[in-house]
Structure formats: C-alpha cells, structure tokens
Amino acid sequence: MTEISDADLCINVPSPFCGVGTDDLKIKVDGKRITLLENGCAVNTPAFEQPVSDTSPRISGQPVDLQAAVDKSAEILGRSQLPLVSGLSTDVNGMRAALELADNIGAITDNMNFTAAMRNLLVLQDSGWMNTTLAEVKNRVDLLVIIGTDIDALFPRFFENYVWNEDALFCQDTSKRQVVYVGKGPSGSASTSPNGNAARVLACQLPDLPEVIAVLRALVNGNPIKVSSVGGIQVTELQTLADQLKQASYGVVTWAASEFKFSQAELTVQNMCEMVKDLNKETRCSGLPLGGKNGDQTSFQVSGWQTGYPSRVNFSDGFPAYDPYLNSTEQRLADGSADALLWVSSFNIDNTPPPTDISTIVLGRSGMTFDKEPDVFIPIGTPGIDHSGHAYRNDNVVAVRLRKLRDAGLPSASDVLSAIHQAL
C-alpha cells in the first residue's frame, strides 16, 4: 500500500517503470504535478515527473469528448476484417480488457517488446531454464556474470540494491562479490565494489556472443577447445570464468534480451540457460533474465493465463492461435493482412505506434506526439500514477500493487477498452 503521509506526500511508492519493482520512492503530488523526492533514478524520475499535457481525446487531430472517441474507435474496429491489438504496454486490468476485446473482435495481439522477449520465451518453450529472483540474488550471489548488457544504463539501481547491499542473509561480506561482464563493459561505475574493485570485462562485439557463449559452455563441461581466442577473447580468460562459475556457490548469469540484437540471439540465450543447467549438476547457478519495462512481463503473464500463450495470439478463427513470427505487428503491417491497429501504450510517451497507413487508434500516455496523427487518440492514465493496478517486475514472480497518486481526469486503459467493447 502506498502510504499517503501528508495530503500530498506519498512514501513507499512502487514503480511500474524500472522493471525491478522499486517500491521505496518518496513522491510529492501537487495537483497534477509529481515530484520524485527520494530514491529516484534516470529511469523512474522522468517517468514519474512527465507532465500531463493533454487530457482531451482527438479524432483526426480535432478535440472531441471521450464518448465520441470511443464510438469512433468502435466504428473502426467494427468494420475491420483483421484488427491488431498491439503495443499492450499496460497493467493487469488493461491487459484483461484488451484480451477480452481482442477475443471478441477476432483480433491479433502483440506486445511492443515481444521481439526482444521472444529471445527468451522461445527458449522457455523449447528447453526451459533454471532461474532465480532478485531477493535470492541480493542474499546469495557470490559471482554475477553479465552477458552483453549494460546494467548501469538499463537498471540504474541494480547494483546498489541487489549486489552491494550492506546486509545479506547468507554472505558475510557482500563487497567480496565478483562481477564479470562478457560482451560489453559497463557504461558507469555502479558495478565497482564498495572497496574499489572494478568488474572484470571480457569484451567482444555482441554479434560474437553466440560463439563466445558456445565456447564458455564447452569449457564448463570440460570439452576441448582448439582455438586460442574467440571473438577477441582469449580462451584462457574464458577458462578462468568457467572455473569461477564451477567454484561459485551461487553464481548468477544475467542478461537483457532487449540488448541481444544479433543473429541467433535465442540460440545464445539457450546456450546460456543450458550452461546454467549443466553447472547445476555439481553446484548451484541460476539465470536472471532482465526486462520488465513498459509492462512487458505483465502483458505476457496475463496473456499466458487467459490464452495459454504469452503474446502474438490470433483470435480471428475463434480460438487463440499462437505464432510468434506470423503474428508480429511488423509482419502483419508489412504483408497488408491487417486493416486496423489499436495501440495501447500507458507508460512512455516515446512508445508510439509503428508507421502505417491503416486506420489507427492510440490509447496513449498523455503527452504523446505523433509524426502522423492517428485516426483516434485517447490520452489515458498511467497505472501507479493516475489509477491503481498491478504490474510485474522482471523476475516474473513478484507483482507490485500500484496506487493512484493524483486525479488528472485521465481514464485507465481498462476503462477505455471496456467502453469500446461496450460500444461494439
């Protein structure tokens, strides 16, 4: 629960933005204006403080009332042969309403982060994994291996909260924790230990990671390697890392799939996850996929329980049909099979719909601007600021309870989607 200590001061505020479920924020609310007073970061502070600039829906750029925008949206979806319900950056109730609508109108669903998330989810669906969650990392990790990911930039408080925490249940001295980067090194200094030990970096180009990880896994398993270097990394260096992983009591291998923008990314993730399984024959080691921004885990979870599939579900034949490739928004816009786009984007004004000529309805965060004005734009509230809700953090286990902090007259995605459904 967010405690409102004064009329306008909130403590223990959870964030839906940062993906790690930060819930120690202190926030001042002054009318519609929000100021993050304590524990902010480069991700959360601008996301909370984003001003409310427009509250009026628009049709073809002209201000209209909410009902007119809802009716127009229903008209567009009602005559569509194959609509896309995409973006889906929202909270649990927003997802529930979106899926109900998509099921009813025979739409195809997609999530704005699915292309990245698929690099993990295809692995889950093909071979599985052994993963852990943030409190286990905080209290147990003795070796953290970061693959191809700049945690400093993506998750600014990760090290402060989960690696260099002073108190840990099972470690005497957290400052002795070892951190190794494979691929790119850190952009900041957060990974340097409190007593000044910088993380070890085994640098390579990210497109070389498939090879580097394959070699690392082979070394973990004691398989002979004939080359002396791979992707510019000496095999002896990788051998040292393999030995560290085998000697660690609770190693954690972490990555953000969003950074794996190279060929064979999912096979690389699979090799990492299988390497973790291999290590667990003798010791303990776990994976920790990082993500959770823009409501992506929330979207996959709700879609998972309501349809059996995480995203990219085609309801047009009357049942949920999953195809992670054919049902991508990009693909459907390119092949011309979709004729209307409903885009839901509650968290970030930069997450606008992809360029398209088909009829477009945007339920977006107030302040969103467009290169091409959509047919309908309905500014919606942000979960955890304008209305209560639930969001998952990146370890996929913990859902945080989001609270309403202000009343800016912005409806929730769930309310608008239900109204559109009603109007149909």
């Binding site: 967010t2 943030l134 286990e136 209290n139 309501q306 945080v400």
Partner: protein, 555 residues
C-alpha cells in the same frame, strides 16, 4: 427468487442422507426450509435424478507462477485442444495446463463449484489471486506455503517460542489471503539453494539446522493452536523416491496426533521390493491412515497420457528433470521464500513405474476405509488434468472396468499390485463424501458441500447411469449460489465465485520485526507485500468470505 428442485434422489452425507427423495428450496442463493405459501419462481422436476452438493476440489494447481510457467512453456499441448469462443464464453485452451477461463467452465461443466490452489507462495500470492480472479463460476481459495521460507527457519534456529511462530503463520495467512497453510518438502526447497540434493525427515538441514520433522511439528502446532479449520497441508519429504513409504509412515508418527493432511500420497507410497526395486507401499499407508484418525489424505492419482508437473518442490523436480517429456523443464529459486519446478510428463501404461503408480493410487483409494479422510484428486495437473475425474470415479465405482484397465498394464507392474484382488466399489454416497461433504469439512467451509438449510445453493444434478464416467462428466444441471450455470453439461450462464479465506488472530507486534527484516533483506516494502481486500474485490465481481477459526482451548 425462490426455486424448487422437486423430487430428486438426494445424496447429502453431511446430513446422513443416502439416496432419499427430497424437495430442495433455494431462495436468493441459499437453501431454505419449505416455505409455507410463497410463490415459486422456478421449479425443476428432478424425479429420477441424482442430486448432490456442488463438488469441491481441495487440491488443484489452478493459479500462480508455476502454473503460468507451465502454460507458457507448452504451446504444442494447447494446440491439441483449442477452445472456441461462443456467444457466451471466452476462447481458451485445454488439456494439461488450461487457460483460466476454460478452467472455470470445465470445472463447472463437471459439477464442480469450488477449487483450492494448494501452493500459494507468500511472495507470489498476488499472482495466484489474480489468476484465480480470472477463473469464472467456481469458488476458490489457497493454502499459503511455508516451511522453506528463511523467516520461519530463522525463527526456529533462534528458538523463538511457539506463540511467536503462530503470530508469523497467522500474519502470513492474512497477508496472502489464504484459507490454509501448506508445507512442501519441509526445509528441502531451502536446502536445495545451498546445493543439497536430498533432505530426509530426521536430517538436519543446511544453515539453520532444522529437521523436516521439527518444521512439520512446529507448523502443525501453529495451525492447531490458531484454530485454523484446515489441518497443516503436507507435501512430504522424498517425493517420488523409491522407499519413501518409510518416510511417510514416520511422518505420520512424528506429528504425534496433531491434525495433518498428507497430499498426493500416491507419490509418497513407494517401496523398494521386486526386481526393479520399486513397489507399492499403499497397503501400509492405508493401514496407517485407518489407524490414525488425525490423518487425512488426498491421493494424487495418475492417469496415462500427457500432462505437466508443477510443484513448489524444486529439489525433487530438479532430481526428476531427466524424465521430462517433452524435453524441457524449469526450476526456480524464489525470494528466500520458496521455489518451483515445472516438468512435463507423459505417463504410459506400458511403463513399469507409471503403471505401478496408477495401481498404487487406486489401491490407496480402495484400502483406506474412511471416505471422510481420503479425497479424490489427481493433484491437477501433476498426476493428470482435472478433466479426468469422471474417469477416476468410474475406476472407483466399477470393478470390472477397473480390472479391464488393469489387464492392459505393463505386466511386471500388474504382477506387483493387489488391485485385481480388491472387490470394493465406491457407492454414490461415498463419492459424495469424498468430493463434497468431506472436502468442505476438510477445507473449513461450513456453508458448502451439503444441502442443508442455510447452505449456499451450490447444487449438481446428474442422471444416474450405469457408466459412471458418462454420468459424472455431464450433469443435467449445476446451480452456483442458486443460479443455473450449467445445463446438460454446458455452461449457460457465467458467474464469478467467492474467494474463501481464514484469518486467525495474531499479535500485530510481529510486524515490527517483519518490517525490519523486509527493509534489510527483501526486495519489497512490507506494506506493499500485504494483499488488501480491495485487490480481490475492486473489479466488482470478486468477493471474499472469511471463515471462522476456533482457537479456544487449543493453545
């Protein structure tokens, strides 16, 4: 709204009614006395029909993180059973890990009106309730998992008194919105995180030094002293390990008379006799259950075919991952609180071990004397999907059908089971005890599982048939809180059920130490950890019912 159900043959074990013709009156969702001269708004002619309370599944994995991992990892299984949207119903998927909406429809279509998720991790309880919130028609609830959580093990290691532990248990139940408490592989999930691969009943666990036997005793005492109706729900040590029948018998003795429910006991009833060092311990288990009135069990029957096992027991799931079919599996360590493991399984009747598992489950059903203390489960989906219940009921009620199936088994397994020599056939009355009256009593639902005045009108009506599978898979009518929701085995109305919880009292002083603990070691504020009522009810369709505790004179 006054409804009359006229002339049905009623099986209501809570009131000792064994197949007697009775009229039942329902006003506004509640069963009432025959009204003197009120106008009947609707009447159903049930002459010749069998009438029972709605069935209650007291152990079914229907909501929570591991269930959703199982769903997400099995697209190929969903494709075998697409569920189409209708005018009334949402689309979904079925089979091993059905979608939430389909789960509710299919339970209701079989005459079930409640299901209880047995493995609610405290830190994941919010998700369990959100998933169950999307399961229509049936009532639901959860047992919150303790016993490998750092906070409890730390308290035990520090020799905290029982009262403090009771406070923590009661606080956890309230925070997680639970009706009971479950322990899974006591101490074992935690031990696995310290790289220990097995933990026996009397073995000291790593770091804290607690023995599983002590953890069970401590939690069973807490549940008893707090007056929680549902006894400690126990998934014991050594699941699936040949020889674990000894562990289970020791577990029964070790609880020293306290109420204890042993779940999916089939997986804990294995001996080491025979050429393959794997044999049935069902007779010994049944004998112990018969002799110890404080013990209840559910069976966790396996059925042949594709399913998926989803368990909090990451230690044992990891040990069994080589059996994954298809070859994929997940294990997770979770928040110094618990863990989970998801391993797809395909049970085959020509496989020696699987065939004997099938027989062991049935032996347990048939050798345990008291149907009030044995419950019909497949540990959905771990032994089989819940949709196999009508088939299971037929196996219990029809000896010749059972023996036909037995003759198709792996011959080595068939030679090692006494099943063929057991004549017992369950009666409709006994089925009604196991799936209604007994289950309601066990969970602590005084207003469900029976057809007495004042009870909630969850009522299922069947046409009696020789083929009990046909009979139980397609009821004529199902009423949920007095509303007709199923007709001829098909959903005709979608309603939303109640979440049942229990809230034993505790000294709120426990929050002081918990708050400090959360701030130092956890990744969430205590205030944000607790699930408040509005999270379950704010959508306008969820309701919470709090069931009383009876702590008087127990502590």
């Amino acid at each position: 709204m006054l409804i009359k159900l006229t002339g049905g043959t009623v099986y209501d074990p809570e009131h000792g009614i064994d197949g007697m013709v009775r009229d039942i009156f329902v006003r506004d969702g509640i069963i009432v006395d025959s009204p003197a001269d009120s106008k009947i708004d609707a009447e159903y002619d049930l002459r010749g029909k069998v009438v029972m309370a709605g069935a209650i599944d007291m152990h079914t994995h229907i909501g929570g993180g591991k269930v959703n991992i199982a769903r997400t990892m099995l697209p190929e299984d969903h494709r075998a059973d697409p569920v189409y949207r209708t005018e009334l119903l949402r689309s979904g998927v079925g089979r091993a890990a059905p979608s939430t909406l389909t789960t509710g429809y299919r339970y209701a279509e079989m005459g079930y009106t409640a299901g209880f998720e047995p493995a609610v991790l405290p830190i994941n309880a919010r998700q369990a309730h959100m998933e169950m919130g999307d399961i229509p028609i049936i009532d639901k609830g959860g047992y919150v998992m303790l016993g490998s959580d750092d906070f409890l093990l730390r308290m035990m290691a520090a020799n905290h008194d029982q009262q403090a532990i009771n406070d923590y248990v009661a606080w956890t139940m309230k925070s997680a919105q639970a009706i009971g408490v479950k322990v899974v592989n006591p101490g074992g999930i935690s031990a696995f995180k310290f790289n220990q691969r097995s933990l026996d009943l009397d073995e000291q666990g790593p770091h804290y030094g607690a023995k599983p036997r002590d953890i069970l005793k401590c939690l069973a005492t807490a549940i008893y002293e707090l007056g929680v109706a549902h006894p400690l729900h126990v998934h014991g040590c050594n699941l699936g390990v040949p020889g674990n029948v000894e562990t289970t018998l020791n577990t029964i003795q070790g609880i020293e008379g306290l109420p204890m429910h042993l779940t999916h006991i089939q997986f804990h009833s294995y001996g080491t006799e025979g050429d393959f060092k794997f044999s049935s311990g069902a007779a010994r288990i049944a004998e112990a259950v018969n002799a110890n009135k404080n013990i209840t069990v559910d069976v966790g029957q396996i059925m042949f075919g594709q399913t998926v096992t989803a368990s909090g027991d990451n230690m044992r799931q990891h040990a069994n991952h080589a059996h994954a079919n298809p070859k994929k599996w997940v294990c997770m360590d979770i928040e110094c609180d618990a863990g989970c493991g998801v391993v797809p399984f395909k049970y085959k009747n020509k496989n020696f071990v699987n065939a004997l598992q099938w027989a062991i489950g049935l032996e347990t059903f048939l050798l345990a004397d008291d149907p009030w203390r044995v419950f019909l489960t497949t540990d959905h989906p771990n032994g089989a999907p819940f949709t196999s219940y009508p088939h299971l009921i037929k196996l219990l009620m029809d000896r010749s059908f059972r023996n036909d199936k037995l003759s198709a088994l792996n011959t080595d397994a068939a030679a090692m089971t006494t099943l063929g020599s057991i004549d017992r056939e369950y009666s409709l009355y006994e089925i009604a005890i196991m799936t209604r009256a007994g289950a309601a009593r066990l969970v602590g639902l005084s207003d469900r599982g029976h057809l007495g005045v004042g009870g909630a009108a969850d009522i299922t009506v069947y046409t009696e048939q020789e083929d009990k599978e046909r009979m139980f898979e397609k009821p004529d009518y199902v009423f949920k809180d007095g509303e007709l929701v199923v007709k001829n085995g098909e959903v005709v109305k979608v309603t939303w059920g109640t979440t049942h919880v229990s809230r034993p009292e505790f000294d709120s002083g426990i929050e002081k130490s918990l708050e400090e603990y959360f701030d130092r070691y956890m990744t969430m504020k205590l205030a944000n950890f607790k699930i408040l009522d509005d999270e379950l009810t704010e959508d306008g369709r969820g309701r919470i019912m709090v069931h009383p505790c009876n702590a008087e004179g127990r502590a």
